[in-house]
Symmetry: C2
Subunit: 486 residues, 2 copies
Amino acid sequence: MLDVKNPAPALYRQIYEGIRRAILCGEFNHGMQLPATRLLAKQLGVSRMTVVNAYEQLLAEGYIEGKTGAGTYVAATLPEKMLRVDQDKSFQHGESAKQRNQILSRRGKWLASTSVSTLRVQADTDRYAFQNGLPALDEFPFKVWSQLASRRLRNPPRELLSYGDPAGYLPLRETIAAHLKSARAVHCDADQVIIVAGSQQALDLTARILLDPGDVAWVEDPCYPGAHNALLAAGAKVVPVSVDEEGFDLANALRQSKQARLVYVTPSHQFPLGVTMSLSRRLALLEWAERSGAFVIEDDYNSEYRYSGHPLASLQGLDKDGRVIYVGTFSKTIFPSLRLGCIVAPKDLTGAFIAARALVDRHSPSLDQAILADFINEGHFSRHLRRMRALYAERQQVLVEAAERDLQGLLEVAPAEAGMHLVGWLPERISDKAASAKAARYGVEGSPLSAYSTNPLPRGGLVLGYTAVNAREIKDGVRRLAQALS
Amino acid sequence: MLDVKNPAPALYRQIYEGIRRAILCGEFNHGMQLPATRLLAKQLGVSRMTVVNAYEQLLAEGYIEGKTGAGTYVAATLPEKMLRVDQDKSFQHGESAKQRNQILSRRGKWLASTSVSTLRVQADTDRYAFQNGLPALDEFPFKVWSQLASRRLRNPPRELLSYGDPAGYLPLRETIAAHLKSARAVHCDADQVIIVAGSQQALDLTARILLDPGDVAWVEDPCYPGAHNALLAAGAKVVPVSVDEEGFDLANALRQSKQARLVYVTPSHQFPLGVTMSLSRRLALLEWAERSGAFVIEDDYNSEYRYSGHPLASLQGLDKDGRVIYVGTFSKTIFPSLRLGCIVAPKDLTGAFIAARALVDRHSPSLDQAILADFINEGHFSRHLRRMRALYAERQQVLVEAAERDLQGLLEVAPAEAGMHLVGWLPERISDKAASAKAARYGVEGSPLSAYSTNPLPRGGLVLGYTAVNAREIKDGVRRLAQALS
């Protein structure tokens, strides 16, 4: 019955279904006697056992009464209303969807109404210039990954199969703690590292743990929409704070609201502008957070990709009072569909994070965590990152050079020290939304900066991802962009 | 720098760290001149480039000012307060944990305070009688699973690597829709099936979408704690409704509160009592839900394991008005750490579920979903279920027989037609919590029924899982249980 390759239901099941439907639709009235099993079997040309099985099922479920053989009757005890339904309404309530939407909770309406256009992607089957936020998927060492997976899957230990630790697989947490200490100067022990299903879950958990409806949360403006939406969905009053060339500005934030419970920043490489938050701004933000008892989310989403200069240490590493919730992701370094990331929580918040994680979905898949731990521990991760850094630096250069050649006066594309995208600045008074729509008609993606902004920007721009496409595709994309914009 | 196998930081990094710390601790005052790179290199016995690199990093981060070579100084623009910290407080705020807990949101306090003892398990390394809710992990066909995984991982298509559909991998949703139609008489199209990270996420999403704080939710009493806690965490007013031999009783519920927005039931096999909800109770519940605009969660957590009689069709299959949210899990049929389950949502709620899923963590890992789809489609799932049904029936019989022999007068263990555990009923007036604690001292787990109950039960009982342990372990467990209880 469970064989899905052969979904035709068993004969007895067909008979059962037919009678059940007849009863529910009132075609068979209650009290009505059903044909004897022998007779029905003969009529239908099936074995008597098949009919007996169908009747037994109906008996077990209470549709019919009596003993097989001694006369079976449609049960009398079913609520009248259920039996007089003329037709199956199951799939006819489409028209009431709008009305039904009223039944969502306030929270549910938040969730359903926040724009998920940037999150709710359809299955992504084609690559094209200049999709943003995607690594070079075709360059990932799947042979290695597959070998590591085979080794883990051949004879996995019980601890990787049963319910696991909601904080994550301990060896992975240790590995990540060591990595973040050395690569990002993050100050942490493994017990502060909590494995999550990507950075989006980190944002959602943080918002739920720390915010009540109406609490003020500051975000950068322009801002990563996944963060903005997670805070909105938690019912927060989200206050966008314009970013300048030094990143998030506390003084600017304080002019807009005297206080906040939570701040969302991307200090290493602001999304989408790409600026780095200056040290004095960092220290001022931390000092304010300590003084006012607020928390800061540091989304360190692609700090691994730095092409020149030294990587700046994390904001978390400067934090002396446990105010920073550090968020990392493997979506940009391994591949997005793995759905693994991490939180480094202040020590006295780890308990709340772990309890929340257990309650929302228990933990991330253990075997995936173990394979990732092996991948990092055996040196494949740093090797892959080195390769990708070289490749992405090259791709960025191709983009910059092609833009210099083909986009003069149309789009100003300056190189950047880090990241996975560049901002192409449009001439003044050109709408970036219009430019983006035009580019789309030429088969080129360039998200408009204004789509990430609440306050108007001095100048429009297009976000151009260059990591997921090769040199030829970049050059071709630039040519088509030139056609679109000229 | 990213090589975690070799976590000793580079030399330049050690120098950078030392100076940075000295500046932050006020040991190096602002304006102070740093030694020339050549001099410091000589003092430390390192190459000059190493020191230059360290200084450049400090310059980039704003700790020092000036040009290498032309004299470097501790920056003057750092906020005074940050520079006069005498010691690193990072890991000294343990004592303020209680006070800090005040900073959690009301929601965060719910999350942190609901008992997660049944959810927050440590890594589970040993098996023992009579753990509940675990399949026979050692009987799972890992060789097959590993082969399917290899095939998928060797050269995965882009759509399995990039961000995926938040509703889940379409071929898996189609497979599950077909399976649930034939096996559980669930009425659905693939577009109503939403893949989730286990049933816990299904419960959390449903609570968030449909409930606001203070809304009434009915649960069975006794109840699965993961459901009870998910509803509590959503701020619901949870009303436990005592279950009798026909399952959840609407009339009983209405006596306790005139209305509810959501009802949680386990109609196929009540957790933990094991009773099946009768047809008339099912129809009455659906009729009420339709009339009052409420929704019903049907948690069909282990309906696959039925040893005698025919499996009862799902509650969802009787629903004519789109009131039932059907929840299924693969934790009991594949293995728990896979973290895959599904929701079958009423058509007009699918949009809200998908938007919510995208916002809380985007989607489940795509490759895991693809491997599971292959496992089902190629017949391995039904084969494994057939084997497990036979094995578990046998193990149940071993438990019943051993109990008859060794537990006479101590614990009454009756066979059951379905499920993964039996309830052992204690003699009247014996506390099941005391009995459970005593059993634990003899190395036997038997969760007390009262731990799942809000209202007092007429008689105490122990929940005895029999699927994860073999015949020898079951017999041994029963002997030790006899010693504990006598």
